[in-house]
Amino acid sequence: MRLHEYQAKGIFADAGIPTPDSRLATDVEEAVDAGRDVGYPVAVKAQVHVGGRGKAGGIELATDEDELREAADAILGMDLKGYHVDRVLVEEAVDFTDELYLGVTLDRGEGEPVVMVSSEGGVDIEEVAAETPEAIAREGVDPAFGLHAFQARKAVYDAGVPGDVARAVSSVLGTLYDLWEEKDASEAEINPLMVTDGGDVVAADAVLNVDDDALFRHSDLAGMEEESYTDDLERKAGEYGFDYVRLSGNVGIIGNGAGLVMATLDLVDYYDGDPANFLDIGGGAKAERVANALDMVFSDPNVDSVVFNIFGGITRGDEVARGINDALSQFDEIPKPVVVRLAGTNAEEGMEILNTELVEVERTLEAAVQRAVENATGGNL
């Protein structure tokens, strides 16, 4: 789950990290009021779940009310990388001498947290990591102890942060780590942490992404969750409780188990087809779930053909077959050809049960995928 900048900043500020004065606004007049409260110059920042907002035109500076009106009018309602902007943060613009980067994330290979500091803040840190990795100081953290104060200092000095602000930056890094741990975050980031003329530090941006699997113990954060789908079908999948990812092709794919569904997509591609989606129906395949999955792929206008690939483990093939028959018999006409392949427990019984007036049945994964690709291309392979 991703928090908006304004939400993350609120949490950072509560924990004692200095942040610029700011107000949230949903229309131009609110933005103007906010500008008056905060004082010019201000930054007007789109609140959407995408990175690189600045480059995409989602952040503008305004030195007076006219400029603020213009910026707020341009940004509110804009489409930013597929996301509709309905709120802006109007924020005191900070005069800075330096921009730093601070981040905490999981080092997956090591299975432990890592804190990162760079004196090259204010730009895309992944570009810095790719081009000049030595510009990022990294410090692995033993999760049994947390971040030692010396480690925060070490990372800050290793990154070449000027001595007069090193203590303040180390302190912010320590707080950022504590927040990362306390909030079950996957990423916590300040980019940039601005250093002012007077030697103060201010978090000019804030990222806090939280582990979805841990939301059960963070009801305050769960309450901040907002829909961030760019796609109606992905929204629908959320309602049905499917793991679903939409792609651009025309072969709809339904299967059980993440690895097998991914492998089915790859096979569609291997046989020169173009996968339309990833849809994991999960364990069990009750008629309602099957019907919902079919509804998902049938309602994708790009889909011309469907492959249904189920490997029955504990789930029995005959139950799956009944589920498919039930779901499809509710249609007067099957909207798009469906190829079914069943394997595993009771697959033979399942294939006997499948109504071949509703579906085409194939015995192997490869044959089923090839057939579905043919169906999608009108047999003109």
Partner: protein, 289 residues
């Protein structure tokens, strides 16, 4: 021979009184697994399918001489269940639970590093030595005894490859589902190391997927430490970056790490053939035998 589990493995099922735990304990027993105890706090003194239940894992181990556990405890309590298991002298802990907070697993793995216990999972189908024992939710009927070791991040993809092997009359020593989470107890290298040391395992099939760099690390291990031939499969070639493909750990990062291409390249560089289809994996394995 086999790795991790065999007919002598004495299993305690943590969470045996819950729906999943009860059902799969029954399935494990039916398969022939030596399920000797259950452990559920507050349920000590009860019995499930004739299996005695204890309040603590310690008591189950002490009274029934268990040496392995299977965890069917809900996500919020699963880390505590694993810490409890790791506090005993168990040789093996298999965690089936899906949806455990990542930071919990980080701490469990930190504790694991201080013990001699093998932890398989979480978010995995378990471990099976065909004809002897299964710990987890794998469908026993599709496996057959033989000389191929299997290690995989995905449940149903494992079944697919096993099915392709079984249809050719190729059986398995042991199959290990290591799980689809970003932090897991047993890595590909850990599993490969076990198979390399097992004299009966003549070839290994490994099924990886996008996300992380465990397959790349495994490739180096295979090139430098293994004599047993390995064939691979990598799922997720068509996965777009930044999208989680079902498994919590199956994601190509925005910066481009964790791609199928990188994993396939690393395996090929290590001399490991990677099948374009599950059927091709079986072709390679058959070629090795």
């Amino acid at each position: 021979m086999s790795v991790l589990v065999d007919e002598d493995t004495r299993v305690v099922v943590q969470g045996i009184t819950g729906g999943e735990g009860k059902f799969h304990a029954g399935q494990m027993i039916e398969y022939g697994t030596n399920v000797v105890a259950g452990a559920v706090p507050g349920k000590g003194g009860q019995a499930v399918d004739g299996v005695p239940v204890y309040d603590t894992v310690h008591e189950a181990v002490r009274r029934e001489d268990a040496d392995a556990s299977v965890v069917f405890v809900p996500p919020a309590f699963a880390a505590d269940a694993m810490f409890e298991a790791l506090d005993t002298s168990l040789d093996l802990v298999v965690a089936i639970t899906e949806g455990i907070p990542t930071q919990d697993m980080m701490k469990v793995n930190r504790r694991l590093s201080e013990t001699d216990t093998h932890l398989v999972g979480p978010n995995c189908p378990g471990v099976i030595t065909p004809g002897e024992a299964k710990l987890g939710i794998l469908p026993g009927n599709i496996f057959s005894s033989g000389n191929v070791g299997l290690v995989s991040r995905s449940g149903t993809l494992t079944y697919q490859v096993v099915d392709n092997l079984t249809k050719r009359g190729i059986g398995q020593t042991t199959a290990i589902g290591i799980g689809g989470d970003p932090i897991i107890g047993t890595s590909f290298i850990d599993a490969l190391e076990l198979f390399e040391a097992d004299p009966e395992t003549e070839a290994v099939a490994m099924c990886g997927e996008i996300g992380g760099e465990d397959e790349e690390a495994a490739a180096k291990f295979i090139a430098t430490q293994m004599d047993t031939p390995v064939a691979g499969f990598i799922a997720g070639r068509t996965a777009p970056p930044g999208k989680r493909m079902g498994h919590a750990g199956a994601i190509v990062s925005g910066s481009g790490t964790g791609t199928a291409e990188s994993k396939i390249q690393a395996l090929n560089d290590a001399g490991v053939p990677v099948g374009d289809t599950p059927e091709e994996v079986a072709d390679h394995i058959e070629g090795f035998l």
